[in-house]
Subunit: 329 residues, 2 copies
């Protein structure tokens, strides 16, 4: 029998030996250089915060959080699962920060993923956000930084998919179903890429969501529009959703965003409007974006984000608009 | 009443806003550049490991460790309190790593310090170690890297204090007290700088340790030797401890180390033999070193380490020698 402690990591955790860490460090440096070239300044916050900050009231935030405790201390603590919630806390707690506040943060985050190949319970996140601006120019700058980062990492084949949550929120008005079904409908649509329309349609009409086949058909018409060029898509979706004021608002924002992206010089072939993109987290309120590697679509999105105008108000009486994106490495 | 979550950090934790983080990041980059110039390669290990790895069997290691848990998972986990224990685990678990293995690691560590001014429960540690060499040249290289780091940080007034644990372990033979009192005696000596001799002497002779006044007097003679130049100190301590084979072994190692430090070009005024230096952690086995800022001695040591030839064998049947130092920032 061994009289020593087995030198094993827990499953879902990973060492980076020098042969992995040297290129990884080079990648980190390149991402940081892009963020700094765009004029973002560094922020650092603890890995560990009060449980009530990290998990908040939002059910989305309670997912698989690591709790932490120490002898003789009763305060409930948790490990951060992203860098956006801590940013919102910092902005709320430091109202004098000059805005727009363009900050980047690099740090480990922890999640209670079920251990499986390629999913880690700890990884490094690079996060760039602009806080204090409602302008779509801020959203466009985030998309430009996503594009520049992929170029700096010498990844030739990628596509940034863009949508607007307001258009998705307008689906209730457009297809005529009850607003309380909206998040379930969005979660179903979000699976389109991985599962195909037939499965999504079945989910939409099953007992749990319970759309009619006419409503599902209306949604199919909607998601099919993403096959077109940005301008065509915008014109078509405007025609389709003319009766939804919420969607029209999102479409108008998206038109402005398209102009801004073009003005910033992000090449046309590197981005696309994709009306099926919803993003998982509940805090997004406007434009949402995600980057996929077009050679290996199955790994999902690698650099994603969106506008979250309500998050700071979880921690403060004032509401502060914000937009940003992060890449997990 | 507020209907939002108070945006507060737990006590002992700190945000670094951009005005703090920009110079901090610059400092991080400089330290990393020094480590890389010395040919050290990066390693990364998780912040969170199995509890048995982090806390081990050693009572020194159980101090104030943060435990972590997640719903539906029974495995006991803990946050790392240093980067040396994870290094020992990596070396034991990857026996094929080419040695000597010169690695650096940068990462956050967590400790359950009682909250008080200037003591944080989370900080960033920079750690440089050489694994697989028993040579004092490896210890000298660690001292050279400590010197180069202080220069790179443009800190003019510092002093690296050097000792050898074997000399301290020889105190039982030299002063004639029981070996089971040795760690308590070392802990008392370690307080000399902060408390002065009178308090240390009282502690040595109190009921708990129980040395005789003759034994305490012998220890005073010993610690007083640190006032001299390195060569004088070595000659004097050799004359004093001639009857302790353990100490003679340490003195001989220290003579070799002094030659190696000089050969590496670390200026004479930047280091000193100080026989009172013990270092807190139990795992050190040979040379120990710590850097103090001579303008602000009260903050204690800022960059410290030593040789720990037994640590890897906690995790493996083989024993692997190692030496290193770390700076917490």
């Amino acid at each position: 029998m061994a009289d020593y402690i087995e030198p094993k990591l827990a499953s879902g955790f990973k060492d980076y030996l020098p042969e992995d860490m040297i290129p990884r460090q080079e990648m980190f440096d390149r991402i940081r250089a892009v963020f700094e070239n765009f004029g973002f300044v560094p922020l650092d916050t603890p890995g560990l915060e009060k449980d009530e900050i990290i998990t908040g009231g939002d059910p989305d935030f309670k997912m698989n959080v690591w709790h932490a405790s120490i002898k003789d201390d009763s305060e409930k603590m948790a490990l951060r699962f992203d860098l956006t919630v801590p940013l919102a806390r910092v902005v709320a707690g430091n109202p004098d920060i000059k805005k727009p506040f363009k900050r980047y943060q690099i740090g480990k985050v922890w999640r209670g993923e079920r251990p499986q190949a390629g999913r880690y319970r700890e990884f490094v996140q690079f996060d760039a956000d602009i806080v204090g601006s409602t302008s779509v120019l801020a959203d466009a700058e985030i998309i430009a930084i996503m594009n520049a980062t992929m170029i700096a990492l010498e990844i030739p084949n990628f596509l940034i998919r863009i949508n607007n949550r307001k258009i998705l929120n307008g689906l209730t008005e457009y297809a005529g179903f009850s607003p309380d079904k909206n998040s379930a409908v969005l979660r179903a649509i979000d699976k389109l890429d991985k599962q195909g329309w037939d499965k999504v349609s079945t989910e939409l009409c099953d007992a749990k969501i319970g759309l009619t086949s006419e409503q599902a058909e209306a949604i199919k018409k909607f998601v099919d529009l993403r096959a077109h060029t940005p301008i065509e898509t915008l014109d078509a979706v405007e025609a389709l959703m003319i009766k939804s004021p919420t969607a029209m608002n999102g479409i108008s924002e998206l038109r402005e965003l398209v102009d801004a992206i073009k003005a910033m010089g992000v090449p046309d072939e590197k981005w696309k409007i994709d009306l099926s993109i919803a993003r998982g987290l509940g805090y997004y309120t406007g434009p949402v974006f995600e980057t996929v590697l077009t050679d290996i679509l199955e790994i999902g999105s690698v650099f994603s984000g969106g506008r979250y105008d309500g998050l700071v108000s979880k921690f403060s009486a004032q509401s502060v608009p914000a937009t940003g994106a992060s890449v997990g490495v």
